[in-house]
Amino acid sequence: MRIAFVNALFELAKKNKKIHLITGDLGFSVFEEYMSKLPKQYLNAGVAEQNMTGVAVGMAMEGKIPFIYSIVPFVTMRNFEQVRNDICYQNQNVKIVGVGLGFSYGQFGHTHFGLEDVGILRTIPGITIFSPGDPVETKLVTKAALKIKGPVYIRLGKAGEPTVHKKTPVFTVGKGIVVKKGTDIALLATGTMLPIAVEVANILENKYSVAVVSMHTIKPLDKNLIIKMAKSMKSVFTLEEHSIIGGLGSAVSDILAEEGIQVLFKRFGTPDRFNKVSGDQNYMRKANGLSADQLALSIKRILKKNKAIQLEELKDL
């Protein structure tokens, strides 16, 4: 996804000289071409994310369009107050790009996991939150971010994410993309869980008709689509590589509860606890019940009025 992002940004920046890529000292083997071809639109601000964010705001106030880039926790949490006060409160045209959502940096340990970013940023007024599901959507949201005159957060995986969209889909900010149609179960997935959702749907397909929706925009959320799905389906599940608290699942819960829609519903995300283990992305997903097999099993159990896979079962990993 980061390659898809930087390629898209590179193309945009060649035409729009206001664009500046500002990195918190990251980008090895990703930014080299951009750096060498567009040196005047590139800045390594060093390992100083609070200042990087403030500098980006100062540049935005002078008409630049800065894209600040670092690993999810460092570009959303370390500098959270700068994001809140300087970018969003003052409605500045700064784009925040977090690489390594969820367990993309699984081996690095919990400090590098991106599991709370959507939860905290969603509380801030005026920010658009993109969580593209594959490299194709990454390109689309990068272009869309430029068109929005104001704060945008783009939540990326890292490398090697599979391509879900065979061809470029119709893309509108704040509108989910129905990747696969179905009538029994709706899987609302975001970010790196989109390809997993497709796998889950394939596993369940022999018994159920499963729809898969990419929620590439978490804020503003596609309320109409969620209501439509919840009213027409037997069950709705949200899938995200993010804490169960505050992310897509929470946002969808808000809508279902306030609309008074009775539907079988569960959020799939990481449980409310720190991970004691580290390992690659698939290992970490398994440790959190987020592999395609585990999710399919949980959904089958829920449809039979049983409980999803519980924390105690995850310990057997």
Binding site: L43, Q50, G54, A56, V57, M61, N85, Q90
Partner: protein, 275 residues
């Protein structure tokens, strides 16, 4: 400290004392806090807005203007009063200070013309100022960016990130001014977190440093004629000031000047002393 030539105030001194009248009036009427730090930076702001900065109060967002980032936004009374005195907006607006729906206690972007950023949380302004200066440099603009910091604010690590950044990028169009009144929220800077050797720290980060009496306006004026203080480096004026200067006597150079508003008697006395 009051400098009078033949008993007559200079133009700048007259402006500064008028600004102090407005500040002490806002403090008295709304029983507001943060008066000491407002009074300590009045002379600095007066010199900047009436003598040093390139600006047009009728075109507050002129692209060629010098920018002033007021990072110690809690001392909003000082910025609002100097902007009003300089003609950015009608002084009547000052009477809405901290009233419901009126001028906010912390300076807020464009709430009145001339306020460049929203502040309130310390340690944010210098980074934004550095970003403006960086943009100015790459676009080869001639504007300068001034940032007013409090001394207590220099405890914030983010400031040192900005100081590091500006030094590295040789932002010679950036000027930081520290209102070094030696008192922070709940104690003397020497007791809470000593900033010394303060000038040497800035120098070590690649800045040109000048220390001056922050209440000697002719000295400050001369100092600002030397920007950048060192060729190809950002400049910092460490302005030695007195918290609560020319305000209520019992709060001058006291922590209480941050919190206490004047009684009626004290208010009248301050106005009388300001002449």
């Amino acid at each position: 400290m009051k400098k009078i030539n033949n008993g007559k105030k200079s133009f700048l001194e007259e402006q500064a004392d008028q600004i102090r009248r407005e500040i002490i009036t806002m403090a008295y009427v709304m029983h507001s806090s943060h008066t000491g730090g407002s009074l300590s930076c009045v002379d600095l702001l007066t010199v900047l807005y009436f003598s040093v900065m390139k600006l047009n109060p009728h075109v507050p967002l002129d692209p060629e203007r010098d920018r002033l980032i007021f990072s110690k936004a809690h001392d909003s009374k000082a910025l609002y009063a100097v902007l009003a005195q300089r003609g950015f907006f009608n002084k009547r607006k000052l009477s809405t200070y901290e009233r419901n729906g009126g001028l906010p206690g912390h300076t807020t972007r464009q709430v009145v013309p001339g306020v460049e950023i929203s502040g309130g949380s310390l340690g944010h302004g210098l980074s934004v100022a550095a970003g403006m200066a960086y943009a100015g440099k790459i676009d080869k603009k001639t504007y300068r960016v001034f940032a007013i910091l409090s001394d207590g604010e220099c405890d914030e690590g983010s400031n040192w990130e900005a100081i590091h950044f500006a030094g590295h990028h040789r932002l010679s169009n950036l000027v930081a001014i520290v209102d070094y009144n030696k008192l922070q929220g709940f104690g003397r800077t020497t007791d809470v977190l000593d900033l010394e050797p303060f000038a040497k720290k800035w120098e070590a980060f690649g800045w040109g440093v000048i220390e001056a009496d922050g209440h000697n306006m002719s000295e400050i004026e001369k100092t600002f004629k030397k920007i950048p203080f060192v060729v190809d480096k950002p400049s910092v004026l460490i302005a030695h000031t007195i918290k609560g200067y020319k305000g209520v006597k019992r709060h001058i150079d006291q922590v209480s000047s941050q919190y206490k508003s004047p009684t009626e008697e004290e208010y009248k006395k301050v106005l009388e002393d300001l002449g």
